[in-house]
């Protein structure tokens, strides 16, 4: 019984360390993005510069998502999807961050404009 408790604690410590390492690596490798990429069903729909204020109604799935860009941040202000998870995901500004609306299969991603080649590889089929 004692052994099991010890193994449980080891497993928990290992998982916590893994989460920490993953988190630090995300923090370390993130850079501010330059563009906002919108995809529906994995296909690019449009791109907007992150530096210019914008309010755009995006048709997706059988509804819409309202994309807002302001002060170098992008977010989904409102949507008519059933769960509204995209609205609750908040604002994004770093390269690779995204807001996802699963019911509409819509994804809003911040991409680094200065490295289009790298992004083309990273965003390819299957990631």
């Amino acid at each position: 019984m004692k052994n099991k408790t010890r193994n449980d604690l080891l497993l928990i410590a290992f998982a916590a360390a893994a989460a920490l390492v993953l988190w630090l690596s995300v923090l370390m490798f993130r850079t501010p993005g330059a563009q906002v990429l919108v995809t529906v069903n994995g296909e690019e729909v449009c791109r907007y510069p992150l530096g210019e204020a914008l309010e755009q109604r995006l048709p997706a799935g059988d509804g819409y998502n309202l994309l807002v860009i302001r002060d170098g941040e992008a977010w989904v202000e409102e949507a008519d999807c059933p769960d509204k998870l995209c609205v609750h995901q908040g604002k994004i500004r770093y390269d690779g961050q995204s807001v996802i609306c699963l019911p509409h299969r819509l994804m809003v991603t911040v991409v680094g404009g200065e490295r289009p080649g790298v992004d083309a590889v990273a965003g390819g089929p299957g990631g």
Partner: protein, 168 residues
């Protein structure tokens, strides 16, 4: 004996179903899409320790199908099924080794569930960028797994039916 087993199955699936509904009342999705408490895992862990991993898998997958039919859609079925399948596989393996307590098994299951879900999301949305969510998903799986594990351990210790632990 057979009728009792059927009744027990029904009870556990119903319990998992109710717990699914209960956890849907606690929105945690601001952290990352799809983050949940994992309360239904209490029923699955109980099934695992009392009935064995095959029957626990049946309880888990039945719950996923029923919940998706009742509250979800085809996509939520895909995500939950992948999460539940990976979760029960990992929990079954750890349980079979006999070297981990309920909490350890639960933590591993919680993290596996989240990883299974994100893996499907990566395939559906065809992007690797979702890996940004990994730290949050591992951490939330860990935290939820500890809570659910402690709860399940207390339950398994106290409820002595069916008699004794399942054969590993």
């Amino acid at each position: 004996m057979r009728a009792r087993r059927v009744a027990l199955f029904g009870l556990l699936v119903a319990l998992a179903l109710v717990l699914s509904y209960a956890e849907s009342l606690v929105p945690l999705s601001f952290a990352a899409p799809g983050v949940k408490l994992g309360l239904p895992n209490v029923a699955v862990l109980f099934a695992l320790y009392r009935l064995g991993w095959r029957r626990a898998a049946v309880v888990s997958l039945l719950r996923v199908v029923l919940v998706s039919f009742l509250f979800g859609n085809a996509y939520s079925l895909m995500y939950s099924a992948a999460g539940a399948a990976l979760s029960i596989m990992v929990m079954g393996l750890l349980w079979r080794t006999g070297r981990f307590g309920v909490t350890g098994v639960s933590v591993a299951g919680g993290i596996a569930h989240n990883i299974g879900q994100i893996a499907v999301a990566v395939c559906v949305l065809e992007t690797g960028r979702l890996m940004f969510y990994l730290p949050v998903l591992v951490a939330s799986g860990l935290g939820a797994g500890i809570g659910v594990g402690l709860l399940s351990a207390a339950l398994i210790r106290r409820v002595r039916y069916p008699k004794g632990d399942a054969q590993r």
